[in-house]
Symmetry: none
Subunit: 286 residues, 2 copies
DNA sequence: GGGCACTGTACAGTATTTGTCTAGATCATG
DNA sequence: CATGATCTAGACAAATACTGTACAGTGCCC
């Protein structure tokens, strides 16, 4: 996933202080980690694997049973209870400061911290999405300049796009992601795409302001299991009402974002994506 | 000993502290380096080869396996075109095919090829910028769907943002990059920012549709040497005419993109950025 | 207490990874 | 042209890892 280089079992064992035998036992018994394999079959552990092992180890030290600790570790761990590592609020404060100063390298460093310390799902749902939400609020309240808002959106968007690399490949069902015409806010949709990707979906991302009739071609070639539309204003959905209903006649359509609601979904023959991005992604059968 | 800065195996071995046998093993086993050969077949290592070997050596010391260390060392990007590598037209044809099929992994692979085979400057000016130009043309002529155009823009934009990582740091003069209100086409501007970065500039990138009055704050903190505005239509510049002139009274302003022209620059008290992105970047004093 | 699941550890036999070494031929250069 | 450096191809051995199974200690339930 991320590239600091993957570790073999001996090196990981040294770094986290857990014996190789136990690492293998945790893998087979709890599916704590899913290391890649070398051509010859040696385990290659990612940063995420290392994170999970550390959480597992700490939870056991804190008194949890191994099975319970594994469950917690696989959920991404408790974001608040990590020794030495910064908490999400600390990282977000760093991020705020960096963006306020238009300091791109500092912002990248804060994002590095975030993605190194936390797994993708909690990093997105508990840090990035709330941050974007607050950014939008402050923008609406004119508490930040457009320049600052653009700057922050661009840096975060760039990182999310980097994480999204390759999300169109694999073997899972395909989801097409787009915003209706007039809708510019794409980052929440990208986060949702990443959450889907974590669950094995293949993503075809079309982005902001996509005329829905132009989706026709995308529906045939590798036929998608769902088309997800996102908007922050209900009006975007209403403006595209006829197109969405026509689309819903051909393929399952999900709507999400602040502009989506149950009534709207019913009126559009679409499914409402409920809850945060993680829950919404989980609610779509893989 | 050296031939145009190139080292033979014994000299490289002494410099990096890795035996010649091991250097050859790393080359055959991991393709860590691809030294040129003398007429007689002796290896001639470039500076980049030396860098890679140092990275490899250091990563192994840090606990990575040789195979992983090599993978990481090779990520550093290699600027030199090599024999047997595909040409730019071939890569662009691949890219076209991938985008037409909405095949993201294939598109990423083609972009990998591009950036592995060519240095950043020619990759941008001879491949990416012309590709974007053609994409825009075909979009205007309705020869491609909006979905395809969005898809391609997003993938390329994501890669460019990844290349841009850290471009706000360093010690060079600062350039602020933005598009005037109404202007959505940012990728050319991002390419220009990367070209500037190659020449040592620090970049503060604000992106599409930036109200110019919101730049005020960005002008003070780390004071920029220039503000570059880009648009594909002259109207965007004209609409923001007063703001641009006010801006030009406080800081050097450059205008570029298809919408910029000599007359417009004169009317706006701005400098016209002439030529391709590489020439334009070179024309700005470092 | 007896049975049982949970959990960490151990071992045997095989396989992979990787640095080093060899042998004989070729290259570069004073 | 003699000498030292370098070439290719392959072999080799130490360290490390793999799979599968076994075993001992702990705590829980009936």
């Amino acid at each position: 996933m991320t590239d600091g280089g993957r570790l073999r079992i001996g090196e990981l064992s040294k770094r986290v202080g857990v014996s190789p035998e136990l690492l293998r036992a945790w893998e087979t018994r709890y599916e704590l980690v899913q290391p890649e394999r070398s051509a010859g079959g040696l385990r290659l552990y990612s940063q995420q694997d290392e994170r999970r092992v550390r959480v597992m180890r700490d939870r056991i030290a804190a008194g949890l049973s191994a099975a319970e600790a594994a469950r917690v570790a696989k959920l991404g761990g408790d974001p608040l209870a990590r020794d030495g590592s910064p908490s999400i609020p600390e990282i977000l404060a760093d991020l705020e400061r960096s963006f306020a100063a238009l300091d791109e390298p500092a912002a990248q460093a804060a994002l590095d911290q975030l993605f190194e310390t936390f797994e993708l799902a909690p990093a997105l749902s508990q840090a990035i999405v709330p941050f974007l939400y607050r950014l939008g609020e402050r923008w609406a309240a004119a508490e930040t300049t457009v320049a600052h808002e653009h700057f922050a959106s661009d840096v975060i968007g760039g990182r999310l796009r980097a994480l999204a690399r390759g999300w169109g490949g694999g073997v899972g069902p395909r989801a097409i992601l787009a915003c209706p015409p007039g809708e510019q806010h794409v980052l929440g949709l990208v986060c949702f795409g990443l959450a889907l990707r974590e669950r094995g979906w293949r993503i075809t991302y079309l982005g902001a302001e996509t005329p829905l009739d132009s989706l026709a071609y995308a529906l045939v070639e590798p036929s998608p299991a769902i088309v997800v539309l996102a908007a922050v204003s209900p009006q975007r959905f209403l403006d595209a009402r006829e197109d969405i209903k026509a689309l819903a006649g051909r393929v399952r359509v999900g709507i999400g974002g602040a502009g989506a609601s149950e009534g709207l979904a019913a009126a559009l023959d679409a499914d409402l994506l409920v809850g945060g991005i993680i829950e919404a992604a989980a609610s779509l059968a893989p």
